[in-house]
């Protein structure tokens, strides 16, 4: 089971930036809010690593824009949103992911496995 977690983590490693950009596409969000959005889509494994360094890299690369604004009754938060360059990166990344996924499905789809409930 540990190896399964490790494989999922490895698989997610290459596309987590795209996942973050995707949830930002739904609207500006602060760090923990993005974690919750990802969990709501079944990516609870995000808890195995931190999204903060990744958000930092996206900001440094100009793929996201940030602004500080008051949250609901809480302290001011740093909200992240897609920059135009981030939108382009998301589009090309999703396209690349689908191509890769189809190729992997082509290889792994031949294997018959019993998937549990």
């Amino acid at each position: 089971m540990a190896s399964t977690e490790g494989r999922r983590s490895q698989l997610l490693r290459g596309v987590l930036d795209l996942c973050l950009l995707a949830v930002m596409g739904e609207g500006p969000a602060y760090g923990y809010e993005m974690t919750k959005r990802l969990r709501a889509r079944g990516l609870s494994i995000v808890g195995q690593g931190s999204i903060y360094p990744l958000l930092g890299r996206l900001e440094r690369d100009g793929l996201v824009e940030t602004r500080r604004a008051a949250s609901n009754g809480g302290p001011p938060r740093k909200y992240y949103s897609l920059s135009p360059e981030g939108e382009r990166e998301l589009d090309s990344g999703v396209s690349e992911w689908k191509t890769t996924r189809d190729a992997v499905d082509g290889a792994l789809g031949l294997v018959k496995v019993e998937v549990g409930p």
């Binding site: 995000v46 195995q48 690593g49 809480g74 302290p75």
Partner: protein, 197 residues
């Protein structure tokens, strides 16, 4: 949770992150952690495995944002500690003098300080030792040598030679190997910058 943030602050300070940036990161992290706590979550729910290593997490975040301060200049592989250089010099001189003393052929049972008097341009005359205190004339005044009675020349010189050679060998192994300097520096720079784990 505040301990975690404080540990992050210390790491950012160590990495040269400016105070405004460190304050901003600490505020964002604190707000997220407090929100998670209010919802019944834990530090690990927000940070995963990073919750157990605040320094690693803080360094990873700062490096990813590109906000770390200037790093110390890398040392040349030829760099050696001043102590090693001084010891090498002392042992080298000791070894040379011991070897010269043995090679000079003194076999008497007494050892005396040997003076070298430079006479004129480029000429060196070595004055042999003699019994008791000796006074030698010289252009800058008389030189005084002191006899150490009862100690054989060869055993002492041999002992000094052995000490010198062994000491130099040890220093060579510890400090003067071609890779020793860079290896220590790599170790000092260790720690790395983790990412997703």
């Amino acid at each position: 949770m505040s301990e975690f943030v404080e540990e992050c602050r210390r790491e950012w300070r160590r990495l040269g992150v400016s105070d405004p940036v460190a304050n901003e990161m600490a505020a964002d992290l604190t707000a997220d952690l407090e929100e998670a706590e209010a919802e019944g979550g834990s530090l690990e729910d927000v940070l995963g495995n990073s919750a157990f290593d605040p320094r690693r997490f803080a360094a990873s975040w700062a490096v990813a944002r590109g906000v770390t301060g200037p790093q110390p200049p890398s040392r040349s592989p030829l760099w050696r500690p001043p102590v090693a250089i001084a010891l090498t010099f002392i042992l080298g001189v000791l070894t040379i003098f011991a070897a010269l003393a043995i090679l000079s052929g003194h076999t008497s049972s007494a050892i005396a300080v040997t003076h070298q008097i430079i006479e004129g341009r480029g000429s060196i005359r070595v004055v042999p030792s003699g019994p008791g205190r000796i006074v030698l004339p010289g252009p800058l005044g008389p030189f005084v040598g002191t006899q150490i009675s009862g100690i054989g020349l060869d055993p002492l010189a041999l002992l000094l030679l052995i000490v010198g050679v062994v000491g130099l060998a040890l220093l060579g192994v510890l400090y003067w190997r071609p890779w020793s300097g860079s290896r220590r520096f790599r170790h000092q720079r260790g720690g790395g910058t983790p990412g997703w784990n």
